[in-house]
Amino acid sequence: MTLANPFPQERAVIGGTTTASGYEVDTTTGYLQSYNLTVEYAVRGGTVVETG
C-alpha cells in the first residue's frame, strides 16, 4: 500500500457490520425534579437572614 493508492479495494475490510448501533425504540424523555425551601427572617436594622 502506497500513498499513491492508499485504499486498495482488494485489501478493504468493511467495519461496523458486526457491532450494533442503535437507540432505544421506546425511549422516554429525560427530566429532573427540583425542590427548594427557604426561610427568610427580618432581624433589626433592615437586615434579613435567609436560609434554604
Binding site: 457490520t17 442503535g22 425504540v25 429532573l32 427557604t38
Partner: protein
C-alpha cells in the same frame, strides 16, 4: 507515525453545520379576584443540516514496517494501514417540539400564596428528511431501515456484507419513520408557596417543587441512526505482510 505525533489535519473536519430553529410563543394572563391565571404555548421546529465527517478524510498509519524506521516509511510513502468512512455525506435532521402551560397564582389569604402550574412537553423523535436512518432492533435481531429506497447502493452493500437477511423496513417492523416511538405523556407539575406563619411581619417561608423535561438530545440520534452502517461505511486497509505486495 509510530512513536511520533500525528501530522496533518483532523480526519473529522471541517464539519459545517447549518442549524435553523423557528420558535413561536404566546401567553395570556387573566386576573380575577384572588387569582392570576396564565396559559400559553411555544411550538418550535429545528433543522440541522450537517456533514457526516467521521474519518471521511481518512487516516494513514505509518510504522517501521518496510524500512525499520517510521520516518523512512513516510518518506517512501509506504503505508502500514489506512482507514476511512464513506457514503452519505449530508444529513438533514428534522425535529419538532411543543410546550403548553397553565398556572394559577392564588392569594389564598393574607399570609399564604400558592403558585400552581402544569406544563406539557412534547418533542418528536429526530428524523432524517429523506429517511436515511437505521436502528438495530434487538428483539427480532434486525437492522430497521427508515426508507431503504433512499440509501444509495444499498442492495450491493448488503450482499457484499452478508446482511441482506438481517434488515427490514421500518413499516414491516411496525416502527415510525424516525425509528423511535414518540413519548406523549410528559406532564410537568409545578407547585410553589409563600407563607407567613401567624401573619408574622418578620418570617416568611417559601418553597417549590417542579418537574422539568429537557427534550431529546439530537446529536446522539444523528450519529447513531444517521451516521452508521449502511448509510456510512467504515473501511480499514492493512498492508500485506510481504514487501512484494506494496
Amino acid at each position: 507515525m509510530l512513536n511520533y505525533y500525528s501530522i496533518g489535519d483532523s480526519p473529522n473536519s471541517p464539519a459545517p453545520a447549518f442549524t435553523t430553529e423557528i420558535q413561536f410563543g404566546d401567553k395570556v394572563t387573566w386576573v380575577k379576584s384572588r387569582h392570576v391565571v396564565k396559559f400559553g404555548g411555544d411550538p418550535a421546529r429545528v433543522r440541522i443540516n450537517m456533514n457526516n465527517v467521521s474519518n471521511t478524510r481518512g487516516t494513514f498509519a505509518f510504522q517501521d514496517r518496510w524500512t525499520n524506521h517510521p520516518v523512512g516509511d513516510v518518506l517512501l510513502g509506504l503505508l502500514n494501514s489506512t482507514s476511512r468512512s464513506y457514503g452519505q455525506q449530508m444529513t438533514y435532521l428534522r425535529n419538532q417540539s411543543v410546550g403548553a402551560f397553565l398556572s394559577d397564582y392564588w392569594k389564598v389569604s393574607r399570609s399564604l400564596t400558592l403558585n400552581l402550574g402544569l406544563r406539557y412537553e412534547f418533542t418528536s423523535p429526530a428524523r432524517e428528511k429523506y429517511g436515511r436512518m437505521a436502528n438495530f432492533i434487538p428483539g427480532p435481531n434486525l437492522i430497521a431501515l427508515s426508507n431503504p429506497h433512499n440509501i444509495e447502493g444499498l442492495d450491493g452493500l448488503l450482499q457484499s456484507t452478508g446482511l441482506a437477511a438481517r434488515t427490514a423496513s421500518a413499516s414491516d417492523l411496525g416502527l415510525p419513520a424516525p425509528l423511535v416511538r414518540s413519548d406523549y405523556n410528559n406532564f410537568a407539575p409545578r407547585l410553589g408557596f409563600a407563607w407567613r406563619p401567624g401573619e408574622s411581619s418578620r418570617l416568611v417561608v417559601r418553597g417549590g417543587y417542579g418537574i422539568f423535561y429537557y427534550g431529546i438530545t439530537l446529536l446522539p440520534v444523528r450519529s447513531r441512526l444517521m451516521g452508521a452502517f449502511p448509510m456510512v461505511v467504515s473501511q480499514t486497509h492493512t498492508a500485506s505482510p510481504t514487501a512484494s505486495t506494496w
